[in-house]
Symmetry: C2
Subunit: 449 residues, 2 copies
């Protein structure tokens, strides 16, 4: 066996303990909110039949499928790595026609894209997706629930005040359809219209209006549209103003009704009014949305993109499974949220170990006593370890310092003298003092911290 060249595949990442410790805490926190809202875990395999994945992601997506080099395959037996979590969800629902509805699931698993990686811009070939969806529930409560869950999840992470306040931007596909009509465009142009509108944050109003002009929107219509899109008031006032300006456009009125209903549900769930913003500019690129669409943004951190994004897609699952199953859900942008938390100082990646207490034996003679102390620390729920070699106390202290372990408990002949009453010399690395205390006192001090 030759020495490994420690080379990784570009666009993939190791998550070392320094990243994994806060990352696991983040994922656990998100999962606990999913569960509180009655969503249950699902996992699907990384490998799916190519025919299940093929033709679902458009020409661009098709090129990004990682296929296996598996000899002697019949074409219909070819296999690829999953591209997202939505098609696997559709396959699972289609495979289980006897499941009661609604089916509420969350799923946190990696996906793969054979893309040019740009790690510095957060584009990877292997990355986690974190999806939560309700299948088989009509528009209304289920949509409000996904939004309420998003608010509780994101605020619970600390995006709840000052410069790091998160807001869910909310719009409705039918309101967008109405705006398309209002702009003098035909229904067939809706897809192009929303795609242009979606770029507002990136390229600005003037560039968007130029593109809309190119699409065929007249100057008069552009002026009127500009006024409507500029409406920015309390949610209820915004919707009322839109209702007046878009009078006579039926789809727009239906969308506005839906948004009023969702706002009403949200108020009964005590979602703070300021946590949701009706935003007629919000388009979201994907064609498959049919109702409410939403994104979480940090309005005071415009350089950080949206942290979550989702909406209602009533036709997608039906197309896949052959059953009429309306659906609503959202993707939680794990990597984006983690990066935002790092950038805003909300997460600590300076700790290389889960250990709270490192025990160091002064010499081999104290190892039995050290193991007894170790046992007592663990029985109190404190993650602990014994430095594997006795003596040379500089080594365990240096190890604890580098790993970010907060406490070192040294056991020498004096501390171990009475086996019925073991003591330790406890040092909190962030402070200068060191004190000889009983094991019970050491535990109390560490649990207190």
């Amino acid at each position: 066996m030759a020495k490994i060249q420690p080379r990784s595949f570009k666009g993939t990442r190791d998550f070392t303990p320094r990243e994994m410790i806060p990352r696991e805490a983040l994922i656990d926190s998100i999962k606990s909110v999913f569960r509180l809202y009655g969503f249950s875990p699902l996992e699907t395999p990384a490998l799916e039949m190519l025919e299940v994945l093929s033709g679902k992601y458009g020409d661009e997506g098709e090129k990004l499928l990682y296929k296996l080099d598996y000899k002697n395959d019949k074409p219909r037996d070819r296999v690829a790595l999953r591209y997202d979590l939505t098609v696997p969800l559709a396959r699972v629902v289609a495979s289980n026609p006897d499941w009661p509805m609604p089916f509420k699931r969350y799923q946190v698993q990696p996906v793969w894209r054979a893309d040019k990686p740009q790690p510095h811009q957060g584009r990877f070939r292997e990355f986690y997706q974190c999806d939560v969806d309700t299948i088989g529930a009509p528009e209304g409560i289920a949509d409000a629930e996904i939004i309420a869950l998003t608010v509780q999840m994101i605020r619970g992470l600390g995006f709840d005040e000052g410069d790091r306040t998160a807001v869910v931007q909310l719009n409705h596909r039918k309101l967008l359809e109405g705006l398309c009509t209002f702009a003098g465009l035909k229904k067939e142009q809706l897809s192009g219209f929303t795609r242009i509108l979606d770029k507002l944050d990136k390229i600005g109003r003037d560039a968007v209006f130029k593109e809309l002009g190119d699409l065929g929107v007249t100057d008069n219509h552009l002026e009127a549209l500009g006024e409507v899109l500029a409406i920015d008031n309390t949610n209820v006032e915004t919707l009322q103003a839109l209702r007046e300006r878009l009078a006579g456009i039926e789809t727009a009125q239906e969308g506005i009704d839906s948004l009023f209903a969702i706002l009403d549900y949200l108020s009964h769930l005590d979602v703070p009014v300021e946590a949701v913003n009706i935003n007629p500019n919000l388009a979201r690129g994907l064609d498959y949305y049919t109702g409410a669409v939403f994104e979480t943004t940090l309005p005071r951190q415009p350089h950080i993109g949206s942290l979550t994004g989702g909406g209602r897609y009533d036709e997608l699952i039906a197309l896949y499974s052959g059953r009429d199953l309306p659906a609503v859900g959202t993707t939680i942008g794990l990597d984006r949220i983690f990066a935002a938390m790092e950038q805003l100082g909300m997460v600590d990646t300076g700790v290389g170990s889960v250990t709270r207490a490192l025990i160091a034996a002064y010499s081999k003679e104290e190892i039995p006593a050290a193991l007894n102390v170790l046992k007592a620390f663990r029985a109190a729920g404190l993650p602990s370890e014994l430095f594997p070699t006795a003596g040379k106390l500089k080594k365990p202290f240096s190890y604890a310092d580098k790993q970010g372990i907060p406490f070192v408990a040294v056991i020498g002949p004096d501390e171990a003298a009475d086996p019925q009453n073991l003591k330790v010399s406890l040092k909190q690395l962030a402070k200068s003092e060191q004190a000889v205390v009983t094991v019970a006192e050491a535990i109390a001090t560490m649990l207190d911290e």
Copy 2:
């Protein structure tokens, strides 16, 4: 888009909520023990450079690598799915020469093998591995810690009494080497000797002895070996008997010394004496073990294979990383443990949802009140959901019954009459009674259950 043929790749599995709910509980429980022992999480990508994986698993393993069909690759840029978690660990350690030692990590991720799947025998193409290893610590405490962790983990899952008692079988490579000498074989024959011994459980003593005879062990030697392997007493007595019988064989004496030391460490960690069994028959197939080897078995369920398996491998990481890094660790057989728990009735796969309380509105008028109740249930920490359509109470009750949701709270006009004092008609599905109670009373009842 055509309807998906809901076909999965053979040898892969969906984990539906019914499996995922107990599976996540199992994994969380295992992780919490890892952390208590000071092991920190690591994740590595599914995709590794082929040159990193190649030549590490022998000829058989080489054929089982899933390679990507990635056009225009230079041979050295080829990529494959990871085969285990040990080589990625070695790559990570080699990539981070500045890390302080010991490096204690756990890792719970899927691996892939291009094998003929035999799902009914538990052989899959995609399955989870769950590894815990200490890199950079010499023989002794670190070995005892891995064994103590195994005992605490497995007993904590309920494998601690009667027919489901788990026992860690413990042996030492050097003792095996000594037995090989004792059997009159040469050192070069050790690998063949242990491979035959490893089959004792599967093919029985007579067949093993026949194969040993074929390897060149004389009848006299076989008789003596048979007597030694039959020694089965308390651990200390077994080791003492082995010490006498193998007098003069230096490697055997070294192995016995090591095992005495590990037993001593375990006693100071209060590991129950009966939880560990010195077993000179235990061989474990892999050639890379250099010291202690161990497996967890259920002695009264011989048809269930070993639940964990590991040992010391002092040369493997050094070969990969170029640094002298002794190591010890174990694999926790997640699938095997889960299957054993199912078989012994220790796990409930009858629940399709995490939801504790399903709220049902008698008609649309009660939806605002129902949302208020939902909010109150969640504030109390109870996973809850509102059935998405009001009316037709048969539907939510049938849904709760199928999903295994224990409580249904119905809100009709009477229950919603006083918004300041909302009530629900609470039914516990496992019992027949239904009672109108306040929201606070309902919460207390459900938290009590």
